[in-house]
Amino acid sequence: MISVGIESTAHTLGVGVFKDKKMLANEKSAYKPKKQGIHPRLAADHHVKAFGAVLERALDAAGISLNEIDQVAYARGPGLGPCLKVGLAGASALAAKLKVPMVPVNHCAAHVEIGALYCRMRNPLILYVSGGNTQIVVREEKNYHVLGETLDIGIGNMVDVFARALGEEYAHGSIVERLAHGGKYIELPYTVKGMNMTFTGLLTDAKKRIGKHGREDLCFSLQETSFAMLTEACERALALTRKKEVLACGGVAQNKRLCEMLGLMAEEHRARFASAPSQFNADNGAMIAYTGLLVRRNAVNWKKADINPKWRLDEASL
C-alpha cells in the first residue's frame, strides 16, 4: 500500500511517500516571510508555485511512478485556510487523475503518530508544541483526549514574536535558543492553571524589558519560564495518567533545553522520554502519508473532500 501525503497547513508545502511502515520520500519547500510572520495569502501563493516541483522530487526520491499510488492523504486542518486550500486542490487533482481515494488527515494527529512510530512508543503522554499548537494529549484507543493546552497562543508563536521584537532578521525560535546560552535568569510572569497555560502575559512582559536587560538574559529567561510551565503541566498530566512514556513532537520539540527539562521530569516519574526526529518535528508530508494509512477507513471521494482550519485534535479519530 503506497500512500502519498500532502502537507500545506502553514509555511511548509511538503509531499511525502510511505509504503506501509517504510518512508520512501519526504520532500518540502518552505515559504520564508521577508519580514514579520506568515502572510496566509503569500504562503498559499508559494505553495501553488512549489507544488509541481515538490511532488516530482518526492516521486523521484521514492522511485515510484504516479500509477503506483494507492491513496492520496492530505492535511485537512488545523491550519491557515488559504494554505489548506492549495493542499486540497493539489490532492484532489492527483486523486481524480489516478482514480484513488483521498484520505483527510489531522495535522496534529500526524505529528503525534509519526513521533510514536519513530520513537517506538505504544501509549505515551504527548506534548505537542509548535507555532500554533500547544497541547498535552493522550490517545484512548481511536480518539485523542486533550488534557491541557494553551489558553491563548501557541508557544512557538510566542517565541517567534519575541524574536521579531528583538529585531532579528529571520526571526525564529532557534535564534532565541542560540541567544539563550550564557544568559542569566530574570523573573518573568509564570502562568499555569492546572494542566493549562497562557503565554501572552509572559510575552508582553518580556517585550517591555527589551533594552533594559541583556538580550541573552531575556532569551534565557523566556525559555526557562515558558518551558518550566510546559514541563510542570506535563508532570501533572503524567502523575494523573501514570503513563510510562513521554513523547514531545512539533516544531518547538526541536529545542534542546525543552527536551532536557522534559527528560529530567520523566526520569523522576520513571517514564521514558523521547522527542520525534527533527525532520518530522518540522512540518512535512511524510507524516501525512503515514497517518493516512492509519485512517484509511475515513477515505472519501475527491468530490467530497474539504478542509477544516479549526479541526481540533480531539475531534479527529484514528
Binding site: V138, E140, E141, N143, H145, V146, L147, E149, Y185, E187, Y190, K193, G194, E224, T225, A228, T231, E232, E235, R236, L238, A239, L240, T241, E260, M261, L262, L264, M265, E268, R312, D314, E315
Partner: protein, 200 residues
C-alpha cells in the same frame, strides 16, 4: 518518624506527629528541571498561598484541614480521619453528595475556588464531606472558576449523585448559583470538556 502517604506531581505528603498530635505534612519538592531561582519562587509562593486558602476556607466554616504550621516549603495540617469518597461504594458516595454540594457552595461564597474538586479530594467523615488539597485553589469571584469546580464533579459522579450534589449546591449558594450554572453550560458547549469515556 514520618511516613510518606502520597506522592503528587508537585508535593509529597507525609504523616507524622507535631506536639503529640497526628499531622499531615505537605512538602513541595525541588524540581531538577527548573532554574533554582524560579524553583524557589514557585514553591514558596504556592506554599504560602495554599496555607492562606486553607485558613480562609476554615474561617468561612468550610470543613477542611486546620493549618498548624507553615515553614518555607512545608505546611503541617491536622489529619482528617475518614475515607476518600473515591474509595467508597456507590451508595455511600451518593449519600455524601448533598454534603459535598453544600460544602462547595460555602467555599465559593467565601470567594475561593478549589481547582480540583473531585471524589479523590473529598474525605467522608461521620457522614459529612471534608475537602483536602487546595494546591490548585484560587481566591476568585469568577464564575468560570466556580463552574469548573462543578464540572469536575459532574464528570466524576453518576447522574443521580450529581443531581443531589447540584441541588444542595444551589440551595446553599442562593441567588449566585444561577450565574455559575449558566457559565457551566457555556463551558460545556466549548467542547473541550466532552468526555469520551476512557479517562472520566
Amino acid at each position: 518518624m514520618s511516613k510518606l502517604v502520597a506522592k503528587g506531581a508537585e508535593a509529597d505528603v507525609y504523616e507524622g506527629k507535631l506536639a503529640g498530635t497526628r499531622v499531615m505534612r505537605k512538602i513541595r519538592k525541588s524540581k531538577a528541571y527548573r532554574v533554582k531561582a524560579l524553583d524557589e519562587k514557585i514553591r514558596l509562593s504556592r506554599t504560602r498561598k495554599e496555607a492562606r486558602l486553607l485558613h480562609s476556607a476554615k474561617e468561612a466554616g468550610v470543613r477542611c484541614p486546620l493549618v498548624l504550621s507553615v515553614r518555607r516549603y512545608e505546611i503541617a495540617m491536622s489529619k482528617l480521619d475518614g475515607r476518600l469518597m473515591m474509595k467508597v461504594d456507590a451508595r455511600t458516595a451518593e449519600q455524601v453528595c448533598a454534603s459535598a454540594g453544600t460544602l462547595l457552595a460555602t467555599l465559593h461564597s467565601a470567594g475561593i475556588s478549589h481547582g480540583d474538586y473531585t471524589p479523590a479530594n473529598i474525605v467522608i467523615r461521620k457522614g459529612e464531606a471534608w475537602i483536602i488539597d487546595f494546591g490548585l485553589g484560587e481566591f476568585t469571584l469568577d464564575d468560570e472558576d466556580f463552574a469548573t469546580d462543578i464540572l469536575l464533579m459532574k464528570k466524576s459522579l453518576s447522574k443521580r449523585a450529581y443531581s443531589k450534589f447540584k441541588k444542595a449546591y444551589c440551595r446553599s449558594r442562593g441567588k449566585r448559583a444561577g450565574a455559575t450554572l449558566e457559565r457551566l453550560v457555556e463551558i460545556e458547549k466549548r467542547g473541550r470538556y466532552v468526555v469520551r469515556g476512557a479517562l472520566a
